[in-house]
């Protein structure tokens, strides 16, 4: 559905996107995961036609995506990072304006507004000025304002910033329902929990480059370990820790060791060494690695840095 080929975007001497190529299939829920300043919003703005790429091409359903191509933009919906609404106007008036910009009018527009407001539980507040809404309510309205014209592709640029857990959950459920109904979504975030929960495929972006691309399982296989084992950093476990350094990655922080065995290291070998140092098995906790670990592995830093 969406193809990006060798897309580059510079702002002065800063390369915001560096030779990015990407394919998004119809019906995908694609997550763009990266820290602040990684290039997520720039990529979104290029797809939305807000900026022009310095190099490379973007196509939506085979048609070039450019600022001048107004027709292609009717296929897109953008949920900006900010609350892009008119605060003095009420919810109904805001939606009327944004719907009318896509050529909607009359009963059709009214029906779509009713449906949208009901879907995000704002129907009973439709006459209230947006400035009187809570942050979560404003976020929900911000989301449906991009959906009135029923786009084929929805671009969500960190749509849950500053949202309370309840509203965030409501937004997630609504987006998942839309995706189940066939809407293709590109969702940028720096919260790995959101990407993990929502996205069928994830691209990890940093310094303007797509570092890894795939499903969660595919990304995890890029790690040189399959599990992560934690145990207390005490005098009793110190000899074991020294030996484990040869079998994988060992990091110590906050009074505990974190051991990530090499892919060829068998867990039986690990437990045999623990037994030989009389470290009881109840001290060990093991867990599957997360996207955070993938990002750390790929970039050498955490998502929050």
């Amino acid at each position: 559905m969406l193809q990006l080929r060798s897309v580059t975007k510079r702002f002065g001497t800063i390369i915001a996107l560096d030779d990015v190529s990407l394919d998004i299939a119809r019906g995908e829920f694609f997550g763009l995961l990266g820290p602040n300043g990684a290039g997520k919003s720039t990529l979104m703005s290029l797809v939305a036609g807000l900026r022009a790429a310095d190099a490379g091409t973007l196509h939506l359903d085979g048609a070039p995506l450019t600022a001048a191509n107004a027709a292609s933009r009717t296929s897109l919906g953008l949920v900006p990072q900010h609350i892009a609404l008119y605060p003095e106007l009420n919810a109904d008036e805001n939606l009327r304006i944004f719907g009318a910009l896509y050529g909607l009018r009359g009963a059709d527009l009214r029906d779509r507004i009713n449906t949208a407001l009901t879907a995000v539980q704002l129907a009973d507040r439709r006459r209230d000025p947006v400035k009187n809404f809570s942050g979560g309510m404003q976020r929900r309205l911000n989301l449906v304002a991009a959906l009135l014209h029923r786009p084929k592709l929805l671009l969500c640029d960190e749509p849950t910033v500053g949202v309370d857990p309840q509203s965030r959950n409501a937004i997630f459920e609504y987006l998942q329902a839309l995706n189940r109904d066939g809407l293709t979504i590109i969702y940028s975030t720096h919260y790995m929990e959101e990407a993990t929960r929502l996205c069928s495929r994830i691209g990890i972006i940093d310094h303007g480059k797509i570092l890894a691309l795939g499903t969660l399982e595919e990304l995890l296989t890029r790690l040189p370990f399959e599990e992560e084992i934690r145990f207390p950093a005490t005098a009793a476990t110190a000899p074991l820790a020294v030996e484990l350094a040869a079998l994988g990655e060992l990091a110590t922080a906050d009074g505990s060791h974190r051991f990530r065995p090499h892919i060829d290291c068998k867990l039986s070998a690990f437990y045999a060494r623990a037994e030989s140092h009389a470290v009881p098995g109840r001290l060990f906790t093991s867990q599957r690695p997360t996207l955070e670990a993938v990002f750390l592995h790929l970039t050498g830093r955490t998502l929050r840095e």
Partner: protein, 477 residues
């Protein structure tokens, strides 16, 4: 105490980081003080109005009339026109017949004219007869011109008044008794004050009664005269040792007051004579346009609020272009401007009787062009400024400058001539010209076209720069 100092430091740090606040606090007031100082000639001895265009028609062959024309030409308050320029660039003296049509023209060079008629001094009536043709569209300017004219007449040609007295006396007494009358007075003056009798008689017959010595502060006392209270010494014609200067001031005031009652200034209003509420009609346009500029500048800065809220992202992701956003803002400003101006004029109609309905269509037309020019100004401010605060600061500064230079606060003729040149660069000036042309002069559509063309030209030029800047600036991210 320490928390107070910490918070105080924080406030000053914030203040000095905010360039708009710093400029509004220091630079704008400084600039305004300087500008007003220049405008009103602070620290200058010759402050006051400059170069008010005045046509002078001298139809009299009286030598004193020529002296009056020369005095008016030397007066810095006036720029005097005495010639009519023919189409072939040749010139001839202006005539009274020229004045009315010239002053009613849309691009009239002058709004005041003084006519010295052949009968400036008459044998049948006492006093001077002068005519003033005026287009008094600004009350302050009109009062200033009248005052300056009277001052010039009384201080430079008081002999005209003397001539009037002489002519009236001659007519009343007959030639022989008139000569005898002057001879008697001359002998009495000579006897009392010691001057030459024949010279005094010649002065009397020429109308020179010595008014110049009390109305013209720069004229020295006749040194051949002695003080009345000085001891009479028939053997000595020595000049007086001093002249009692303190007596001059009250005498001047008294003389001018007396003279003003016997100089007949026949005022002929060439333009706006049938305007019912002249003062309100002449000032409402300037204030209306000033408030319109403030309103439209505020609305233009809404571009920054929409940008900062990310609304432009949403709009531009829809089938909406930058041009759509800019032109919708422009049209919004124009419509708001027309409505605001018309509301103010209708309020002027209700409160002060300004005849809006008489010129409704042309007034709407001028309001449209003025609103367009003002809106383009607001758009340019938004295009040039990095943020809303800077735009507001710049707007306040420029609106005050344009309003004062453009004549919204006081007549531009009160300013030095070199500053008056800048008035025509302001949209306030041309908007006021438009309102005045319709409401005051009652001009037709075709007569209005030059002003509309200039306002339209300002709009096109300023909007072109604004759009160019918008496309290269940061307003659209």
């Amino acid at each position: 105490m320490r928390p107070i100092l910490v918070l105080l430091r924080k406030d000053f740090t914030n203040f000095f980081r905010n360039k708009a606040a710093v400029s509004l606090t220091f630079i704008v007031p400084f600039a305004m003080i300087w500008l007003f100082g220049v405008i009103f000639g602070v620290n200058k001895k010759d402050s006051g109005p400059n170069g008010i265009p005045l046509a002078v028609v001298n139809a009299s062959d009286n030598p004193a009339a020529a002296t009056l024309v020369a005095a008016l030409q030397a007066e810095k308050s006036f720029y005097v026109y005495t010639k009519f320029v023919n189409p072939d660039k040749s010139t001839r003296p202006l005539t009274e017949a020229d004045l009315r049509s010239m002053m009613q023209a849309p691009d009239a060079d002058f709004r005041f004219a003084l006519v010295i008629p052949p009968d400036v001094v008459s044998e049948t009536t006492f006093g001077l007869h002068l005519k003033i043709f005026s287009n008094p569209r600004n009350e302050i300017e009109t009062q200033t011109v009248n005052g300056m004219l009277q001052k010039t007449i009384f201080t430079t040609v008081p002999q005209l008044l003397g001539q009037s007295l002489q002519a009236r006396a001659k007519n009343f007494l007959g030639d022989s008794r008139f000569k005898q009358f002057n001879g008697t007075i001359a002998a009495a003056v000579s006897d009392a004050f010691g001057a030459d009798k024949d010279q005094v008689q010649r002065d009397l017959e020429a109308g020179d009664f010595g008014f110049g010595q009390i109305t013209g502060p720069t004229q020295p006392a006749d040194r051949s005269l002695r003080r009345l209270d000085a001891p009479k010494d028939p053997t000595s014609n020595a000049p007086p040792t001093s002249v009692a200067q303190p007596a001059v001031a009250p005498a001047t005031t008294g003389a001018v007051d007396a003279l003003s009652r016997i100089v007949r200034l026949e005022t002929i209003q060439v333009v706006g004579a049938d305007v019912k509420s002249p003062f309100a009609t002449s000032i409402v346009g300037g204030w209306a346009i000033q408030f319109l500029l403030f309103a439209l500048s505020a609305s233009a800065t809404s571009l920054f609020r929409e940008r900062d809220a990310g609304i432009f992202q949403r709009l531009l992701a829809a089938p909406v272009t930058r041009a759509h956003i800019l032109w919708s803002k422009f049209l919004y400003g124009v419509i708001l401007g027309i409505v605001q101006l018309m509301v103010l004029f209708v309020a002027g109609r209700i409160l002060f009787g300004i005849e809006v309905e008489k010129h409704f269509v042309l007034l709407v037309l001028v309001c449209t062009f003025a609103a367009a020019a003002c809106t383009s100004f607001g758009m340019l401010l938004a295009a040039l400024s990095p943020n809303a605060e800077a735009a507001q600061g710049l707007a306040t500064f420029l609106i005050m400058i344009m309003s004062s230079l453009g004549g919204a606060w006081f007549p531009i003729t009160l300013m030095p001539v070199f500053i008056q040149q800048f008035s025509k660069l302001t949209l306030v000036y041309w908007s006021m010209e438009g309102f005045s042309a319709v409401l005051w002069a009652g001009q037709s559509f075709f007569q209005l076209l030059p002003i509309l063309g200039i306002l339209g030209g300002i709009t096109v030029l300023v909007m072109s720069i604004a759009v160019w800047r918008f496309n290269r600036g940061k307003i659209f991210g």
